[in-house]
Amino acid sequence: MNRMTLTRVFTSLCALLVVSVPASAQIELTGSYSPRLYEDYIERGPGSFLGDFTGMPLTDEGRAKALLYTSNIPSMVERQCLAQSPWVGLYRPLGLRIWSAVDKNGRVISWNLEGDYLRDTIEIWMDGRPHPSPNAPHPSAGFTTGKWEGDTLTARTTHVKTAWIRRGVGIPGSDQSTFTVHMTLHDDLLTIMTIQEDPIYLTEPHVVTRVWQRDPRGSQNGGRVICNTANEVPRLEDSGIVPHYLPGQNPEEAFMIQNYNLPRAAAMGYAETLYPEYRKKIKNVYAPPASCDRYCCGWIERQGLPGAAPGLACNDGGLAEINPFVRSKQSESKRTQPAPAKK
């Protein structure tokens, strides 16, 4: 083997090894993103009804705490500015800005997801640092580390504060919660999946997936990190009174059952009801309500298209009359959709 051959082999080997080092397998996530709101628009937009625990795998403890909740609780002076769950952004209709921090050698130390209202910026540490001791403080954003698994950034968040999973209806999450997060970019679509595990309030992992679209004007969050308290409920100011329902006295407990004919198990967040098998189980016993004024046909309804639930006429409470986008969509759909067959 002569010197030239050795040099070629050496160069080839180096090139081969360099490109095969997994640490270099990073996707550039930096940018601004707009939310794609066709998913779960109820939670991310107008908000769920009180007493709506559908889609949640709650423990009896979680259900009990959620039923003690009143919407006066977030109005307490003590609670108005408390940090919310670091990943609550998946329940919000807000844009997202992502950037990286690099060390002096240009290596990514962290991926950062900008915070928004009462949600701190999440730093996903990529430099291999360990999670802190269980005795360490639980900062507003928790503590998150990440690694690339192929083209997916997988992160793990610990050290969170006790914070509602869905504040509007009081579904609780504890300070023992941990999150596994997968972030995957498909062209300009960013999918974020969070898997929350909570030994206190969840019987099984709670999985949420949302999509954002890359958009130079997408992040709308700047300047929303200021919070001042105000006296929203006079009797709560400086009193030490904690508003809540007593067990068995929450007037919203039966709302979803009475208004949507849902079985109690589905309305109250029993894990069994999350699975397709449950649909099959109740298929022949479930009867839609005779009338339904709101949230009956989901996003399809919002677009003015015919409803999805069999036997249920969509009625959005007059939304179509006031929303030009919906009105135009409805007109369009009337032109393009065949009339439903009369039975």
Binding site: L17, V18, L118, N135, P137, H138, G240
Partner: protein, 336 residues
């Protein structure tokens, strides 16, 4: 001879290349692994929470350590069994002398190290009548009353562990280590000897067992504790703890060192206060309906919080907590 010469010259080139390329990644992993703290389960854990404030975990109760030009101030001294290790942990932080130990209650896991740790220190006002200098042990007077006994009777704790200095006022203030320190009495909360300690410049509050993130608060009526006193203490604590506001995402905030559990801030205190207040209200409602203690326990008035803070075994069970609230509320109702 040429070939051997080449081998000699080229073999290191191959090796260097392999080491550089393969070893680079491995080396990085090794360096990162070295940054992880060695797991030593026998050792206490020390966390620095401010430039001159540390918290030592695992000594019985949490022990706060304030270091400055005058020496070391400890809040609580842990259990007797862990006293030597606590002393080692303090020495690992600083070689300054321990000047003051402040006891937040008379509980054995808060005062157990008093004798050992104080003996290793030097009082802020050295006692000229003894040749055995020791750190000052400061507490609210009821702590001394609980730990000692009338002459001739057996005391719960040996003399060497008793506080050397007590106070009866609402607040005992001092300026040590260039720090304003206020020891504030919390009447009849966890016990009748509770204090919280505010380090004003450091902006750290040490709560003793008024805040115990492992459990529902230990409200010990036999030692003068009460549900009403506990809630008043938690509300007073909320008045003192400053949250991150209005710049809610900035790290600046008052830090809270609970008697047990992780370093906290305003958020944890609110959650804990709300927990206790809601359970108090539920039990009050049940009493109003004429339910007996057995009926109240059977109705599970702590549901919603029990899995986080409750326990069915150990020194402080959920039933004991419910009973303390029930009896406290019944007693108050009986007096009114």
């Amino acid at each position: 001879m040429t070939a051997p010469t080449m081998r000699v010259r080229t073999a290191p080139l191959w090796l260097i290349a392999l080491v550089l390329v393969l070893g680079g990644a491995q080396g990085a992993r090794t360096v990162l692994a070295q940054q992880r703290p060695a797991a030593d389960k026998a050792a206490l854990e020390t966390i620095r929470i401010r430039p001159n404030v540390f918290v030592i975990f695992g000594a019985g109760s949490n022990v706060a350590v304030h270091v400055g030009e005058d020496g070391v101030i400890l809040v609580d001294s842990g259990s007797t069994a862990m006293a030597d290790k606590l002393l080692d942990a303090v020495k690992a932080i600083t070689d300054q002398p321990i000047r003051i130990i402040i006891n937040t209650s008379a509980d054995a896991d808060h005062v157990g190290g008093n004798a050992t740790v104080a003996r290793a220190g030097l009082g802020i006002n050295p006692d000229s009548f003894t040749d055995q200098p020791q750190a000052t042990v400061l507490a609210y007077e009821n702590v001394l009353t609980r730990m000692s006994a009338p002459s001739g009777a057996d005391s719960l704790f040996p003399l060497a562990m008793w506080p050397t200095e007590t106070f009866t006022s609402k607040i005992r203030s001092m300026y040590v280590n260039d720090e304003a320190i206020q020891v504030m009495r919390q009447p009849g909360a966890h016990s009748d000897g509770d204090t919280i300690v505010l380090f004003r410049r450091a902006d750290v509050i040490v709560t003793g067992d008024i805040l115990d993130l492992r459990n529902f608060p230990v409200i010990d009526p036999a030692k003068g504790g009460s549900i009403q006193g506990e809630l008043e203490a938690l509300n007073r604590l909320l008045d003192l703890v400053v949250p991150a506001m209005p710049l809610v995402t900035k790290p600046g905030r008052t830090l809270v060192v609970p008697g047990h559990g992780y370093i906290s801030d305003y958020g944890e205190v609110v959650e804990y206060r709300d927990t206790v207040a809601v359970i108090r209200d539920i039990i009050q409602d049940m009493i109003g309906k004429g339910m007996t203690l057995a009926q109240v326990k059977a109705a599970n008035p702590t549901q919603g919080y029990r899995r986080r803070y409750g326990s069915d075994s150990g020194p402080w069970t959920t039933d004991m907590f419910v009973e303390a609230i029930y009896n406290g509320l019944k007693g108050r109702a009986g007096k009114s």
